[in-house]
Protein backbone atom coordinates (compact mmCIF):
# COMPACT_ATOMS: atom_id res chain seq x y z
CA UNK A 1 0.00 0.00 0.00
CA UNK A 2 2.97 2.28 -0.29
CA UNK A 3 1.50 3.88 -3.33
CA UNK A 4 -1.73 4.78 -1.61
CA UNK A 5 0.06 6.24 1.37
CA UNK A 6 2.09 8.39 -0.95
CA UNK A 7 -1.03 10.45 -1.47
CA UNK A 8 -0.83 13.49 0.74
CA UNK A 9 -4.53 14.14 0.59
CA UNK A 10 -6.25 16.37 3.13
CA UNK A 11 -8.72 14.81 5.50
CA UNK A 12 -12.21 16.22 5.20
CA UNK A 13 -11.45 19.92 5.13
CA UNK A 14 -12.98 22.61 7.20
CA UNK A 15 -15.60 20.52 8.89
CA UNK A 16 -16.13 23.21 11.46
CA UNK A 17 -16.10 26.23 9.24
CA UNK A 18 -17.95 24.86 6.22
CA UNK A 19 -21.57 25.13 5.25
CA UNK A 20 -24.28 22.85 6.63
CA UNK A 21 -23.92 20.65 3.60
CA UNK A 22 -20.19 20.19 4.15
CA UNK A 23 -20.56 19.60 7.88
CA UNK A 24 -23.18 16.93 7.27
CA UNK A 25 -21.06 15.43 4.42
CA UNK A 26 -23.93 15.74 1.89
CA UNK A 27 -23.90 13.96 -1.45
CA UNK A 28 -22.75 17.02 -3.33
CA UNK A 29 -22.08 20.43 -1.87
CA UNK A 30 -22.09 22.83 -4.77
CA UNK A 31 -20.80 25.79 -2.74
CA UNK A 32 -17.75 23.86 -1.59
CA UNK A 33 -17.10 22.69 -5.12
CA UNK A 34 -17.20 26.25 -6.43
CA UNK A 35 -14.99 27.57 -3.62
CA UNK A 36 -12.41 24.83 -4.03
CA UNK A 37 -12.46 24.32 -7.79
CA UNK A 38 -9.37 26.42 -8.37
CA UNK A 39 -7.28 24.71 -5.65
CA UNK A 40 -8.49 21.12 -5.61
CA UNK A 41 -9.78 20.38 -9.12
CA UNK A 42 -8.36 22.72 -11.75
CA UNK A 43 -4.71 21.56 -11.48
CA UNK A 44 -5.87 17.91 -11.43
CA UNK A 45 -8.02 18.52 -14.50
CA UNK A 46 -5.04 19.95 -16.36
CA UNK A 47 -2.90 16.97 -15.31
CA UNK A 48 -5.63 14.64 -16.47
CA UNK A 49 -5.82 16.26 -19.89
CA UNK A 50 -2.02 16.03 -20.17
CA UNK A 51 -1.97 12.36 -19.20
CA UNK A 52 -4.65 11.59 -21.77
CA UNK A 53 -3.22 13.68 -24.59
CA UNK A 54 0.27 12.22 -24.24
CA UNK A 55 -1.06 8.66 -24.04
CA UNK A 56 -3.28 9.00 -27.11
CA UNK A 57 -0.60 10.84 -29.11
CA UNK A 58 2.14 8.29 -28.42
CA UNK A 59 -0.34 5.43 -28.75
CA UNK A 60 -1.42 6.74 -32.12
CA UNK A 61 2.14 7.10 -33.37
CA UNK A 62 2.94 3.49 -32.40
CA UNK A 63 -0.35 2.06 -33.72
CA UNK A 64 -0.08 4.00 -36.97
CA UNK A 65 3.40 2.67 -37.67
CA UNK A 66 2.34 -0.83 -36.67
CA UNK A 67 -0.83 -0.70 -38.78
CA UNK A 68 0.99 0.52 -41.90
CA UNK A 69 3.59 -2.20 -41.43
CA UNK A 70 0.93 -4.86 -40.98
CA UNK A 71 -0.99 -3.45 -43.96
CA UNK A 72 2.07 -3.84 -46.14
CA UNK A 73 3.14 -7.19 -44.67
CA UNK A 74 -0.09 -9.01 -43.88
CA UNK A 75 1.66 -11.76 -41.92
CA UNK A 76 2.49 -9.32 -39.13
CA UNK A 77 -1.09 -8.38 -38.38
CA UNK A 78 -1.95 -11.37 -36.19
CA UNK A 79 1.20 -11.25 -34.03
CA UNK A 80 0.76 -7.50 -33.54
CA UNK A 81 -2.89 -7.90 -32.65
CA UNK A 82 -2.20 -10.74 -30.19
CA UNK A 83 0.49 -8.72 -28.41
CA UNK A 84 -1.75 -5.65 -28.19
CA UNK A 85 -4.69 -7.72 -26.99
CA UNK A 86 -2.45 -9.18 -24.29
CA UNK A 87 -1.54 -5.67 -23.09
CA UNK A 88 -5.18 -4.63 -23.27
CA UNK A 89 -6.30 -7.44 -20.96
CA UNK A 90 -3.91 -6.65 -18.08
CA UNK A 91 -5.99 -5.21 -15.23
CA UNK A 92 -5.20 -1.51 -15.01
CA UNK A 93 -4.45 -1.36 -11.30
CA UNK A 94 -2.02 -4.27 -11.69
CA UNK A 95 -0.41 -2.69 -14.74
CA UNK A 96 0.35 0.57 -12.93
CA UNK A 97 1.73 -1.31 -9.93
CA UNK A 98 3.79 -3.57 -12.22
CA UNK A 99 5.52 -0.56 -13.74
CA UNK A 100 6.55 0.94 -10.37
CA UNK A 101 9.59 -1.33 -9.77
CA UNK A 102 10.80 -0.56 -13.28
CA UNK A 103 10.12 3.12 -13.85
CA UNK A 104 9.12 4.22 -10.37
CA UNK A 105 6.23 6.38 -9.17
CA UNK A 106 6.49 8.53 -12.25
CA UNK A 107 4.42 9.84 -15.11
CA UNK A 108 6.46 7.53 -17.33
CA UNK A 109 5.04 4.51 -15.52
CA UNK A 110 1.53 5.83 -15.91
CA UNK A 111 1.99 6.64 -19.59
CA UNK A 112 3.47 3.25 -20.45
CA UNK A 113 0.37 1.59 -19.08
CA UNK A 114 -2.05 4.10 -20.62
CA UNK A 115 -0.37 3.95 -24.04
CA UNK A 116 -0.62 0.16 -23.93
CA UNK A 117 -4.38 0.39 -23.59
CA UNK A 118 -4.75 2.59 -26.68
CA UNK A 119 -2.81 0.30 -29.02
CA UNK A 120 -5.33 -2.42 -29.73
CA UNK A 121 -8.18 0.03 -30.34
CA UNK A 122 -6.21 2.32 -32.63
CA UNK A 123 -4.41 -0.48 -34.49
CA UNK A 124 -7.64 -2.31 -35.22
CA UNK A 125 -9.41 0.81 -36.45
CA UNK A 126 -6.58 1.97 -38.70
CA UNK A 127 -6.25 -1.49 -40.27
CA UNK A 128 -10.01 -1.83 -40.72
CA UNK A 129 -10.21 1.65 -42.22
CA UNK A 130 -7.51 0.83 -44.76
CA UNK A 131 -9.07 -2.52 -45.59
CA UNK A 132 -12.44 -0.93 -46.24
CA UNK A 133 -11.18 1.49 -48.87
CA UNK A 134 -13.28 0.64 -51.94
CA UNK A 135 -11.35 -1.57 -54.36
CA UNK A 136 -12.56 0.49 -57.32
CA UNK A 137 -10.94 3.64 -55.91
CA UNK A 138 -7.71 1.68 -55.53
CA UNK A 139 -7.90 0.34 -59.09
CA UNK A 140 -8.60 3.82 -60.47
CA UNK A 141 -5.63 5.21 -58.57
CA UNK A 142 -3.28 2.53 -59.83
CA UNK A 143 -4.56 2.86 -63.39
CA UNK A 144 -3.95 6.61 -63.29
CA UNK A 145 -0.34 6.11 -62.36
CA UNK A 146 -0.26 6.82 -58.63
CA UNK A 147 2.71 5.20 -56.91
CA UNK A 148 2.15 2.94 -53.87
CA UNK A 149 3.10 5.84 -51.61
CA UNK A 150 0.74 8.28 -53.37
CA UNK A 151 -2.00 5.68 -53.25
CA UNK A 152 -1.55 5.37 -49.49
CA UNK A 153 -1.37 9.07 -48.65
CA UNK A 154 -3.77 10.50 -51.21
CA UNK A 155 -6.41 7.82 -51.39
CA UNK A 156 -6.26 5.09 -48.77
CA UNK A 157 -5.52 7.10 -45.64
CA UNK A 158 -8.00 9.90 -46.41
CA UNK A 159 -10.68 7.31 -47.05
CA UNK A 160 -9.74 5.45 -43.85
CA UNK A 161 -9.99 8.69 -41.87
CA UNK A 162 -13.53 8.18 -40.52
CA UNK A 163 -12.57 4.76 -39.14
CA UNK A 164 -9.31 6.14 -37.76
CA UNK A 165 -11.14 9.03 -36.07
CA UNK A 166 -13.64 6.58 -34.59
CA UNK A 167 -10.68 4.71 -33.08
CA UNK A 168 -9.21 7.91 -31.68
CA UNK A 169 -12.53 8.78 -30.06
CA UNK A 170 -12.89 5.39 -28.37
CA UNK A 171 -9.24 5.41 -27.26
CA UNK A 172 -9.50 8.93 -25.85
CA UNK A 173 -12.65 8.28 -23.86
CA UNK A 174 -11.19 5.02 -22.59
CA UNK A 175 -7.98 6.74 -21.47
CA UNK A 176 -9.84 9.59 -19.77
CA UNK A 177 -11.58 6.94 -17.69
CA UNK A 178 -8.48 4.79 -17.06
CA UNK A 179 -6.25 7.76 -16.22
CA UNK A 180 -8.18 8.22 -12.95
CA UNK A 181 -6.65 4.93 -11.81
CA UNK A 182 -3.16 6.29 -12.57
CA UNK A 183 -3.46 8.48 -9.45
CA UNK A 184 -2.82 5.22 -7.60
CA UNK A 185 0.88 5.69 -8.33
CA UNK A 186 0.77 9.38 -7.49
CA UNK A 187 0.85 11.08 -10.86
CA UNK A 188 -2.11 13.35 -10.18
CA UNK A 189 -5.05 13.78 -12.46
CA UNK A 190 -8.70 13.61 -11.47
CA UNK A 191 -8.09 10.25 -9.85
CA UNK A 192 -6.23 11.94 -7.02
CA UNK A 193 -9.23 13.74 -5.46
CA UNK A 194 -11.14 10.47 -5.88
CA UNK A 195 -8.52 8.43 -4.01
CA UNK A 196 -8.36 11.15 -1.34
CA UNK A 197 -12.11 11.14 -0.98
CA UNK A 198 -12.16 7.36 -0.61
CA UNK A 199 -9.80 7.75 2.34
CA UNK A 200 -11.47 10.73 3.91
CA UNK A 201 -15.05 9.78 3.12
CA UNK A 202 -15.82 13.28 1.86
CA UNK A 203 -18.58 12.65 -0.67
CA UNK A 204 -18.58 15.99 -2.50
CA UNK A 205 -14.97 15.66 -3.54
CA UNK A 206 -15.57 12.11 -4.73
CA UNK A 207 -18.65 13.00 -6.76
CA UNK A 208 -17.17 16.19 -8.18
CA UNK A 209 -14.00 14.50 -9.45
CA UNK A 210 -16.03 11.70 -10.99
CA UNK A 211 -18.38 14.13 -12.68
CA UNK A 212 -15.48 16.17 -14.02
CA UNK A 213 -13.97 13.06 -15.59
CA UNK A 214 -17.26 12.18 -17.26
CA UNK A 215 -17.74 15.76 -18.42
CA UNK A 216 -14.21 15.89 -19.79
CA UNK A 217 -14.84 12.69 -21.76
CA UNK A 218 -18.05 14.07 -23.25
CA UNK A 219 -16.53 17.41 -24.20
CA UNK A 220 -13.41 15.89 -25.77
CA UNK A 221 -15.51 13.36 -27.68
CA UNK A 222 -17.68 16.18 -29.00
CA UNK A 223 -14.62 18.14 -30.09
CA UNK A 224 -13.26 15.09 -31.90
CA UNK A 225 -16.55 14.75 -33.78
CA UNK A 226 -16.13 18.34 -34.94
CA UNK A 227 -12.55 17.63 -35.99
CA UNK A 228 -13.70 14.60 -37.95
CA UNK A 229 -16.37 16.61 -39.76
CA UNK A 230 -13.80 19.21 -40.65
CA UNK A 231 -11.38 16.62 -41.96
CA UNK A 232 -13.95 14.50 -43.80
CA UNK A 233 -16.47 16.88 -45.35
CA UNK A 234 -17.36 14.35 -48.04
CA UNK A 235 -18.99 12.07 -45.49
CA UNK A 236 -22.02 14.32 -45.30
CA UNK A 237 -22.15 15.07 -49.01
CA UNK A 238 -24.37 12.34 -50.38
CA UNK A 239 -27.26 12.56 -52.77
CA UNK A 240 -30.52 13.36 -51.08
Amino acid sequence: MTALLAQQGPVIPEFERGSDCVRENGQFCFDWFVDNFGDVFAPRLVEHIELTAIAVAIGFAISFAAALTAYAYGKLETPFAIFMAFLYTIPSLAFFQLMVPITGLTVTSAEIALVSYTLLILFRNIITGLREVPEDAREAARAMGLTQWQLLWRVELPLALPAIMAGIRIATVTIISLATVAAYIGVGGLGQPIFNAIQSGFKTQFVAAGLLAVLLALVVDGLLVLVQRGLAPWMRATRA
Binding site: A137, A140, M144, G145, L146, V155, W234, R239
Partner: protein, 357 residues
Protein backbone atom coordinates in the same frame (compact mmCIF):
# COMPACT_ATOMS: atom_id res chain seq x y z
CA UNK B 1 -24.62 -5.19 -104.26
CA UNK B 2 -21.37 -3.43 -105.01
CA UNK B 3 -19.71 -0.08 -104.46
CA UNK B 4 -22.67 1.43 -106.23
CA UNK B 5 -24.76 0.76 -103.15
CA UNK B 6 -23.80 4.33 -102.45
CA UNK B 7 -22.39 3.72 -99.04
CA UNK B 8 -19.45 5.97 -98.48
CA UNK B 9 -17.28 3.91 -96.22
CA UNK B 10 -14.55 6.49 -95.93
CA UNK B 11 -17.03 8.74 -94.22
CA UNK B 12 -16.59 6.65 -91.10
CA UNK B 13 -19.35 5.87 -88.70
CA UNK B 14 -19.62 8.96 -86.61
CA UNK B 15 -22.71 10.57 -88.04
CA UNK B 16 -22.79 14.27 -88.79
CA UNK B 17 -21.54 16.06 -85.72
CA UNK B 18 -23.98 18.54 -84.25
CA UNK B 19 -23.01 22.10 -85.08
CA UNK B 20 -24.25 23.19 -81.71
CA UNK B 21 -21.76 20.94 -79.95
CA UNK B 22 -19.03 22.16 -82.25
CA UNK B 23 -19.39 25.75 -81.18
CA UNK B 24 -19.73 24.81 -77.53
CA UNK B 25 -16.28 23.32 -77.39
CA UNK B 26 -14.66 25.77 -79.75
CA UNK B 27 -12.73 27.22 -76.84
CA UNK B 28 -11.60 23.84 -75.55
CA UNK B 29 -7.88 23.37 -75.48
CA UNK B 30 -8.03 19.62 -75.94
CA UNK B 31 -5.73 18.99 -78.82
CA UNK B 32 -7.29 15.62 -79.46
CA UNK B 33 -3.90 14.05 -79.85
CA UNK B 34 -4.21 10.35 -80.58
CA UNK B 35 -1.76 7.49 -80.70
CA UNK B 36 -1.43 4.37 -82.79
CA UNK B 37 -1.83 1.36 -80.54
CA UNK B 38 -0.44 -1.92 -81.66
CA UNK B 39 -0.57 -5.42 -80.17
CA UNK B 40 2.29 -7.48 -81.45
CA UNK B 41 2.00 -11.16 -80.60
CA UNK B 42 0.84 -10.17 -77.13
CA UNK B 43 0.45 -13.21 -74.90
CA UNK B 44 -0.65 -13.55 -71.30
CA UNK B 45 -0.44 -16.74 -69.32
CA UNK B 46 -1.60 -16.45 -65.74
CA UNK B 47 0.62 -18.30 -63.26
CA UNK B 48 -0.64 -21.81 -62.67
CA UNK B 49 -2.76 -21.89 -65.83
CA UNK B 50 -1.85 -23.98 -68.80
CA UNK B 51 -3.92 -22.19 -71.43
CA UNK B 52 -3.08 -18.57 -72.11
CA UNK B 53 -5.69 -15.90 -71.31
CA UNK B 54 -4.50 -14.04 -74.39
CA UNK B 55 -2.66 -15.87 -77.11
CA UNK B 56 -0.44 -14.15 -79.70
CA UNK B 57 -2.78 -11.21 -80.14
CA UNK B 58 -1.74 -8.98 -83.01
CA UNK B 59 -3.79 -6.03 -84.14
CA UNK B 60 -3.25 -2.37 -84.87
CA UNK B 61 -5.63 0.41 -83.91
CA UNK B 62 -5.18 3.51 -86.05
CA UNK B 63 -4.86 6.82 -84.25
CA UNK B 64 -8.17 8.36 -83.25
CA UNK B 65 -10.28 5.24 -83.72
CA UNK B 66 -12.49 3.40 -81.28
CA UNK B 67 -11.67 -0.29 -81.22
CA UNK B 68 -14.16 -2.49 -79.42
CA UNK B 69 -12.91 -5.70 -77.84
CA UNK B 70 -15.79 -8.10 -77.54
CA UNK B 71 -16.31 -11.76 -76.79
CA UNK B 72 -18.03 -14.10 -74.38
CA UNK B 73 -16.80 -14.24 -70.79
CA UNK B 74 -13.41 -15.86 -70.58
CA UNK B 75 -12.48 -14.57 -74.02
CA UNK B 76 -9.74 -12.40 -72.55
CA UNK B 77 -11.07 -9.04 -73.66
CA UNK B 78 -10.49 -7.30 -70.33
CA UNK B 79 -7.10 -8.97 -69.97
CA UNK B 80 -6.11 -7.69 -73.41
CA UNK B 81 -7.12 -4.17 -72.44
CA UNK B 82 -5.26 -4.24 -69.12
CA UNK B 83 -2.07 -5.35 -70.84
CA UNK B 84 -1.90 -1.89 -72.40
CA UNK B 85 -1.38 0.02 -69.16
CA UNK B 86 0.38 -2.91 -67.51
CA UNK B 87 -2.27 -3.43 -64.88
CA UNK B 88 -1.66 -6.98 -66.11
CA UNK B 89 1.95 -7.69 -67.13
CA UNK B 90 2.66 -9.30 -70.49
CA UNK B 91 4.03 -12.81 -70.63
CA UNK B 92 5.29 -12.62 -74.20
CA UNK B 93 5.11 -10.36 -77.21
CA UNK B 94 4.74 -6.62 -77.05
CA UNK B 95 2.32 -3.73 -77.08
CA UNK B 96 3.46 -0.45 -78.60
CA UNK B 97 2.06 3.06 -78.44
CA UNK B 98 3.17 5.16 -81.40
CA UNK B 99 5.89 2.60 -81.95
CA UNK B 100 7.22 2.72 -78.38
CA UNK B 101 7.10 -0.49 -76.40
CA UNK B 102 5.10 -0.15 -73.18
CA UNK B 103 7.90 -2.07 -71.48
CA UNK B 104 10.36 0.72 -72.22
CA UNK B 105 8.37 3.26 -70.23
CA UNK B 106 8.23 3.82 -66.50
CA UNK B 107 5.03 2.20 -65.21
CA UNK B 108 3.60 5.33 -63.59
CA UNK B 109 4.53 7.52 -66.57
CA UNK B 110 2.90 5.03 -68.93
CA UNK B 111 -0.33 5.04 -66.92
CA UNK B 112 -0.50 8.79 -66.58
CA UNK B 113 -0.53 8.95 -70.36
CA UNK B 114 -3.50 6.62 -70.70
CA UNK B 115 -7.05 7.51 -69.67
CA UNK B 116 -8.88 4.78 -67.79
CA UNK B 117 -12.64 4.41 -67.43
CA UNK B 118 -14.25 1.32 -65.96
CA UNK B 119 -17.63 0.00 -65.00
CA UNK B 120 -17.23 0.61 -61.27
CA UNK B 121 -16.31 4.23 -62.10
CA UNK B 122 -13.95 4.44 -59.14
CA UNK B 123 -14.22 8.13 -58.38
CA UNK B 124 -12.44 9.13 -55.17
CA UNK B 125 -15.29 9.82 -52.72
CA UNK B 126 -13.15 12.11 -50.56
CA UNK B 127 -12.21 14.45 -53.39
CA UNK B 128 -14.41 17.05 -55.03
CA UNK B 129 -15.14 16.75 -58.72
CA UNK B 130 -12.31 19.19 -59.33
CA UNK B 131 -9.98 17.04 -57.25
CA UNK B 132 -11.01 13.91 -59.10
CA UNK B 133 -10.69 15.37 -62.56
CA UNK B 134 -7.41 17.02 -61.62
CA UNK B 135 -5.76 13.84 -60.34
CA UNK B 136 -3.33 13.25 -63.19
CA UNK B 137 -2.63 16.95 -63.87
CA UNK B 138 -1.77 17.31 -60.17
CA UNK B 139 0.65 14.40 -60.38
CA UNK B 140 2.14 16.07 -63.43
CA UNK B 141 2.66 19.23 -61.41
CA UNK B 142 0.32 21.59 -63.23
CA UNK B 143 -0.34 24.91 -61.47
CA UNK B 144 -3.66 25.14 -59.62
CA UNK B 145 -5.28 27.67 -61.94
CA UNK B 146 -4.52 25.57 -64.97
CA UNK B 147 -6.02 22.47 -63.32
CA UNK B 148 -9.17 24.38 -62.44
CA UNK B 149 -9.54 25.80 -65.94
CA UNK B 150 -9.03 22.35 -67.39
CA UNK B 151 -11.58 20.79 -65.02
CA UNK B 152 -14.15 23.44 -65.94
CA UNK B 153 -13.56 22.92 -69.61
CA UNK B 154 -13.94 19.14 -69.27
CA UNK B 155 -17.09 19.33 -67.18
CA UNK B 156 -18.68 21.40 -69.87
CA UNK B 157 -17.50 18.95 -72.48
CA UNK B 158 -19.15 16.00 -70.70
CA UNK B 159 -22.35 17.92 -70.02
CA UNK B 160 -22.05 18.95 -66.38
CA UNK B 161 -22.20 22.38 -64.78
CA UNK B 162 -18.63 23.71 -64.71
CA UNK B 163 -19.53 26.21 -61.99
CA UNK B 164 -21.48 24.45 -59.25
CA UNK B 165 -20.51 20.85 -59.85
CA UNK B 166 -16.80 21.52 -59.52
CA UNK B 167 -16.95 21.81 -55.73
CA UNK B 168 -19.33 18.93 -55.10
CA UNK B 169 -18.43 15.42 -54.03
CA UNK B 170 -19.03 12.29 -56.15
CA UNK B 171 -21.62 11.00 -53.68
CA UNK B 172 -23.92 13.85 -54.68
CA UNK B 173 -24.25 12.65 -58.28
CA UNK B 174 -26.26 9.93 -60.02
CA UNK B 175 -24.51 6.96 -61.61
CA UNK B 176 -24.70 8.44 -65.09
CA UNK B 177 -23.31 11.78 -63.91
CA UNK B 178 -20.55 9.99 -62.01
CA UNK B 179 -19.46 8.20 -65.15
CA UNK B 180 -19.45 11.52 -67.01
CA UNK B 181 -17.02 12.72 -64.34
CA UNK B 182 -15.10 9.47 -64.85
CA UNK B 183 -14.77 10.19 -68.56
CA UNK B 184 -13.67 13.77 -67.84
CA UNK B 185 -11.05 12.46 -65.40
CA UNK B 186 -9.69 10.08 -68.03
CA UNK B 187 -9.22 12.97 -70.47
CA UNK B 188 -7.81 15.49 -68.01
CA UNK B 189 -4.22 15.44 -69.19
CA UNK B 190 -5.29 15.17 -72.83
CA UNK B 191 -4.13 11.57 -72.90
CA UNK B 192 -3.83 10.30 -76.49
CA UNK B 193 -5.14 6.87 -75.50
CA UNK B 194 -8.15 5.77 -73.48
CA UNK B 195 -9.03 2.37 -72.06
CA UNK B 196 -12.71 1.82 -71.34
CA UNK B 197 -13.79 -1.39 -69.60
CA UNK B 198 -17.55 -1.76 -69.98
CA UNK B 199 -17.83 1.90 -69.02
CA UNK B 200 -21.61 2.14 -69.37
CA UNK B 201 -22.40 -1.43 -68.32
CA UNK B 202 -23.83 -0.59 -64.91
CA UNK B 203 -26.15 2.17 -66.12
CA UNK B 204 -29.84 1.87 -66.93
CA UNK B 205 -30.63 1.55 -70.67
CA UNK B 206 -31.74 5.15 -71.18
CA UNK B 207 -28.75 6.66 -69.37
CA UNK B 208 -26.45 4.24 -71.17
CA UNK B 209 -27.82 5.31 -74.52
CA UNK B 210 -27.32 8.98 -73.66
CA UNK B 211 -23.77 8.43 -72.50
CA UNK B 212 -22.96 6.43 -75.62
CA UNK B 213 -24.31 9.21 -77.84
CA UNK B 214 -22.52 11.89 -75.87
CA UNK B 215 -19.28 9.95 -75.90
CA UNK B 216 -19.43 9.51 -79.67
CA UNK B 217 -20.05 13.23 -80.10
CA UNK B 218 -17.22 14.02 -77.71
CA UNK B 219 -14.96 11.63 -79.55
CA UNK B 220 -15.76 13.31 -82.85
CA UNK B 221 -14.65 16.62 -81.28
CA UNK B 222 -11.62 15.30 -79.50
CA UNK B 223 -10.43 12.17 -81.25
CA UNK B 224 -8.54 9.75 -79.04
CA UNK B 225 -7.50 6.21 -79.69
CA UNK B 226 -9.91 4.18 -77.60
CA UNK B 227 -9.91 0.54 -76.53
CA UNK B 228 -13.49 -0.20 -75.55
CA UNK B 229 -14.37 -3.50 -73.87
CA UNK B 230 -17.95 -4.72 -73.89
CA UNK B 231 -19.95 -7.94 -74.07
CA UNK B 232 -22.91 -6.22 -75.74
CA UNK B 233 -22.83 -6.61 -79.52
CA UNK B 234 -25.24 -3.72 -80.06
CA UNK B 235 -22.97 -1.43 -78.09
CA UNK B 236 -20.00 -2.71 -80.08
CA UNK B 237 -21.73 -1.94 -83.37
CA UNK B 238 -22.72 1.49 -82.16
CA UNK B 239 -19.41 2.53 -80.61
CA UNK B 240 -16.74 0.84 -82.67
CA UNK B 241 -14.94 2.01 -85.75
CA UNK B 242 -13.52 -1.49 -85.58
CA UNK B 243 -14.53 -4.54 -83.66
CA UNK B 244 -12.17 -7.26 -82.49
CA UNK B 245 -13.98 -10.47 -81.65
CA UNK B 246 -12.12 -12.64 -79.18
CA UNK B 247 -12.70 -16.23 -78.20
CA UNK B 248 -10.72 -18.09 -75.56
CA UNK B 249 -7.85 -15.66 -75.84
CA UNK B 250 -7.61 -15.71 -79.61
CA UNK B 251 -8.57 -13.04 -82.10
CA UNK B 252 -11.29 -14.43 -84.36
CA UNK B 253 -12.16 -11.45 -86.52
CA UNK B 254 -11.05 -7.82 -86.60
CA UNK B 255 -12.94 -5.57 -88.95
CA UNK B 256 -15.42 -2.73 -89.23
CA UNK B 257 -18.89 -3.39 -87.77
CA UNK B 258 -20.37 -3.37 -91.26
CA UNK B 259 -18.00 -6.00 -92.58
CA UNK B 260 -18.40 -8.21 -89.55
CA UNK B 261 -22.19 -8.07 -89.88
CA UNK B 262 -22.06 -8.54 -93.64
CA UNK B 263 -19.49 -11.30 -93.74
CA UNK B 264 -18.79 -13.02 -90.46
CA UNK B 265 -15.66 -15.08 -90.84
CA UNK B 266 -17.10 -18.26 -89.29
CA UNK B 267 -20.03 -19.82 -87.46
CA UNK B 268 -18.83 -18.52 -84.11
CA UNK B 269 -18.88 -14.90 -85.23
CA UNK B 270 -22.18 -15.37 -87.04
CA UNK B 271 -23.73 -16.80 -83.87
CA UNK B 272 -22.15 -14.13 -81.76
CA UNK B 273 -23.43 -11.19 -83.77
CA UNK B 274 -26.86 -12.85 -83.92
CA UNK B 275 -29.31 -14.11 -86.50
CA UNK B 276 -30.59 -10.58 -87.03
CA UNK B 277 -27.21 -9.34 -88.22
CA UNK B 278 -28.79 -8.13 -91.46
CA UNK B 279 -31.10 -5.87 -89.51
CA UNK B 280 -28.24 -4.84 -87.23
CA UNK B 281 -26.38 -3.56 -90.27
CA UNK B 282 -29.10 -0.96 -90.55
CA UNK B 283 -27.89 0.37 -87.21
CA UNK B 284 -24.52 1.11 -88.75
CA UNK B 285 -25.69 3.37 -91.57
CA UNK B 286 -27.59 6.59 -91.68
CA UNK B 287 -29.72 7.95 -94.51
CA UNK B 288 -27.02 10.41 -95.44
CA UNK B 289 -24.63 7.57 -96.16
CA UNK B 290 -26.79 6.36 -99.05
CA UNK B 291 -26.77 7.70 -102.58
CA UNK B 292 -30.01 9.64 -102.94
CA UNK B 293 -32.44 9.52 -105.83
CA UNK B 294 -33.37 12.95 -107.20
CA UNK B 295 -36.46 14.63 -105.83
CA UNK B 296 -39.57 14.05 -107.94
CA UNK B 297 -41.08 17.22 -109.36
CA UNK B 298 -43.73 18.94 -107.31
CA UNK B 299 -44.40 18.98 -103.59
CA UNK B 300 -42.77 16.09 -101.69
CA UNK B 301 -45.28 13.60 -100.37
CA UNK B 302 -45.10 10.63 -98.01
CA UNK B 303 -42.84 10.19 -94.99
CA UNK B 304 -39.74 12.32 -94.44
CA UNK B 305 -36.61 11.75 -92.34
CA UNK B 306 -33.46 13.72 -91.63
CA UNK B 307 -30.27 12.52 -93.20
CA UNK B 308 -28.76 11.56 -89.84
CA UNK B 309 -31.54 9.03 -89.15
CA UNK B 310 -30.39 5.44 -88.70
CA UNK B 311 -31.55 3.17 -91.52
CA UNK B 312 -33.22 0.87 -89.01
CA UNK B 313 -35.47 3.72 -87.92
CA UNK B 314 -36.17 4.61 -91.56
CA UNK B 315 -37.15 1.03 -92.28
CA UNK B 316 -39.48 1.03 -89.33
CA UNK B 317 -40.99 4.30 -90.52
CA UNK B 318 -41.57 3.05 -94.05
CA UNK B 319 -43.12 -0.22 -92.87
CA UNK B 320 -45.36 1.58 -90.43
CA UNK B 321 -46.52 4.08 -93.03
CA UNK B 322 -46.79 1.47 -95.76
CA UNK B 323 -44.69 3.72 -98.01
CA UNK B 324 -42.19 2.75 -100.69
CA UNK B 325 -40.07 5.89 -100.57
CA UNK B 326 -38.81 8.35 -97.97
CA UNK B 327 -37.93 11.98 -98.60
CA UNK B 328 -34.56 12.84 -97.07
CA UNK B 329 -34.20 16.19 -95.34
CA UNK B 330 -30.90 17.95 -94.77
CA UNK B 331 -29.81 19.50 -91.48
CA UNK B 332 -32.04 22.53 -92.07
CA UNK B 333 -35.08 20.39 -92.83
CA UNK B 334 -35.01 21.04 -96.58
CA UNK B 335 -35.77 18.13 -98.95
CA UNK B 336 -32.59 16.78 -100.49
CA UNK B 337 -33.58 13.61 -102.32
CA UNK B 338 -35.35 10.31 -101.80
CA UNK B 339 -34.50 6.72 -100.89
CA UNK B 340 -36.56 3.66 -101.73
CA UNK B 341 -37.55 0.86 -99.40
CA UNK B 342 -35.85 -1.61 -101.74
CA UNK B 343 -32.52 0.11 -101.38
CA UNK B 344 -32.71 -0.23 -97.61
CA UNK B 345 -33.93 -3.83 -97.54
CA UNK B 346 -31.26 -4.62 -100.11
CA UNK B 347 -28.71 -4.11 -97.36
CA UNK B 348 -30.28 -6.82 -95.21
CA UNK B 349 -30.11 -9.71 -97.64
CA UNK B 350 -27.29 -12.25 -97.94
CA UNK B 351 -25.79 -10.86 -101.13
CA UNK B 352 -24.52 -7.73 -99.48
CA UNK B 353 -21.38 -9.50 -98.37
CA UNK B 354 -19.80 -7.83 -101.35
CA UNK B 355 -19.94 -4.40 -99.74
CA UNK B 356 -16.25 -4.07 -99.15
CA UNK B 357 -14.55 -0.77 -99.28
Amino acid sequence: MTESSGIDVTDGLGGPAGDEQQSKVAGARSSGSAAVLSFDGATKVYPGRRTPAISKLSLEIPAGEICVLIGPSGSGKTTAMKLVNRLIPLTEGDVTIDGRSIGSLDETELRRGIGYVFQQIGLFPHMTVEGNVGTVPRLAGWPKERIRARAQELLELVGLDPGEDLKRYPGEFSGGQQQRIGVARAMAADQPLMLMDEPFGALDPITRDQLQDDFLRLHAEVPKTVVFVTHDIDEAIKMGHRIAILREGELVQYDTPDHILASPINEFVADFVGADRGLKRLNVWRLGHLELDPLPPGEPSGPTAREDTLLRDVLSLLLTEGAERVTVLDGDGKPKGTVTLDKITGLIGPQEGAVRA
